[in-house]
């Protein structure tokens, strides 16, 4: 559970500034941005997601590297299950 999942922010909700829709390998889910309140991400930013919360912003290059590593680690499937399983705040 220490391997964070990178996702791209594809939608920010007007009614709730702490919630974003992210895309991970084509799967879209709502996640919580509350832990990045000091430096909020904008649309198109990549973030590392851990248990449904964005933990840190990362560059697109690093995000793609991280996705590739999850695949190499054999963790891509469980990462996708995790993202699909998120019911969203």
């Amino acid at each position: 559970m220490c391997l964070a999942i990178p996702g791209k922010i594809v939608e920010l909700l007007d009614e709730h500034r702490d919630i974003a829709v992210i895309d991970v390998l084509g799967v879209r889910r709502r996640i919580d941005l509350g832990l990045l309140s000091d430096d909020p991400p904008i649309l198109g930013d990549w973030v590392l997601i851990h248990v449904g919360f964005a933990m840190s912003k990362i560059s697109e290059v690093d995000a793609l590297d991280q996705l590739r590593m999850l695949t190499e680690l054999g963790e891509q499937q469980s990462a996708l299950e995790e993202v699909q399983g998120l019911s969203g705040p």
Binding site: M1, C2, L35, S56, P89
Partner: protein, 373 residues
């Protein structure tokens, strides 16, 4: 053995591995501890030990939250699940961890309402959607996960959700490292520091490991190249007689950590005077409980907790493996009674547990070997 050209940037991996060989004084046996279970998983998965000279030993640390949780805490949490009004919610990692009378999954099979959630906020959502039930979230994790639990509790309080509580098993990494350094049967030369814990706490809290204990530490990412480069950093420090904290995961870890996340932890949690860790025993000031201002959402205050203490099955040597005194395969049960399909100890459950990681590594390396051990 995995061939280097299977990795991304193979020429860089080869060069880094050569640099490690050049730096590692053949007259010395180096013991480096990777603190985080995510690193243990990556090291076995990529077969990185095969790229290291025989005099560099990687010792697996305590950074697997499922693995360090004593069985008594699982029993305590499951005792709440026996209340027919309670929904027991936990991460998938917890579901197959054995308690005295079975794992959460087995409790579910017996008719108790046990649910897998992927986020603490999903547990809160369960509470919103089931107002006639009480949802108890069985929280585990180091500083990586604690902020998410904290923020979820802050939301529960702000919304005044009455039917939600958290059974906190959150632990903190620094006291565990201290306990390992204080342990007389441990000799560690240097540390590969945790990656994602450090996104929250930053690098400053490791300062004493270098300045007081005199041990080099490199905060590391999870790619093969990250881990190998961290080993180079540690060898260079040792060679130069230095001990400092180096950040080898700058693309994710800010030196100061994540202030908002630390603030959330501080708002909701306080440090317990002591907490029991599997294998390491009682460690003072090593875990987080809810503050009095969150008593209404604290499962330990809302429910009568039996406070069970269970000694691990005698034959299982989880404690020794957790402390790095034994390698997984040296445990009498490894690969026999205890397998990922039928785990006896928690280290065989989580993919971050060194036993499960080593088991699947062996399986990939030589399938017939596992049957033999």
């Amino acid at each position: 053995m995995r061939f280097v050209d299977e990795f991304r940037r193979p020429e860089l991996i080869t060069r880094t591995a050569e640099e490690i060989r050049r730096l590692a004084d053949p007259d010395h046996h180096f013991r480096f501890m990777e603190v985080c279970g995510g690193h243990t998983h990556a090291i076995y998965r990529f077969g990185l030990m095969d790229l290291l000279p025989p005099n560099i030993e990687l010792v697996h640390g305590p950074g697997c939250p499922v693995c360090v949780l004593p069985m008594g805490r699982i029993d305590d949490g499951l005792s709440i699940a026996e209340d027919p009004n309670v929904i027991f919610a936990a991460f998938g990692d917890m579901m197959r961890v054995p308690g005295t009378h079975g794992s959460p999954l087995e409790y579910k099979a017996r008719g108790m309402d046990v649910r897998i959630v992927y986020s603490p906020s999903d547990a809160l959502k369960l509470a919103r959607n089931n107002p006639d039930k009480h949802v108890m979230f069985f929280a585990i994790g180091f500083e990586t996960t604690a902020p998410s639990t904290a923020l979820t509790l802050m939301r529960a309080k702000a919304e005044g959700i009455p039917n939600f509580s958290v059974f906190s098993n959150h632990v903190t990494i620094i006291p565990a490292i201290r306990a390992i350094l204080d342990s007389p049967d441990m000799r560690i030369d240097a540390f590969i520091g945790p990656g994602h814990v450090s996104t929250v706490i930053g690098c400053r809290p490791y300062g004493w490991i270098a300045s007081d204990a005199g041990k080099p530490i490199a905060v590391s990412g999870f790619e093969p190249l990250d881990v190998l480069q961290s080993i180079v950093m540690l060898l260079r420090q040792l060679k130069g007689g230095k001990a400092i904290v180096e950040n080898n995961y700058k693309r994710v870890v800010p030196w100061e950590g994540n202030r908002a996340a630390l603030k959330a932890i501080g708002e909701v949690f306080e440090i317990r005077p002591y907490f029991e860790w599997r294998g390491l025993g009682f460690i003072s000031q090593s875990a987080l409980r809810l503050k009095d201002s969150y008593a209404q959402w604290d499962a330990e205050k809302r429910f009568a907790i039996p406070g069970i203490r269970v000694t691990d099955p005698k034959a299982a040597q989880c404690g020794e493996v957790l402390k790095g005194v034994l390698k997984p395969a040296q445990c009498k049960l490894f690969g026999k009674e205890c397998t990922p399909e039928h785990p006896i100890g928690a280290l065989m459950v989580s993919s971050e547990g060194s036993c499960a990681a080593y088991y699947s590594y062996q399986l990939r390396k030589a399938p017939e070997l596992v049957q033999m051990t």
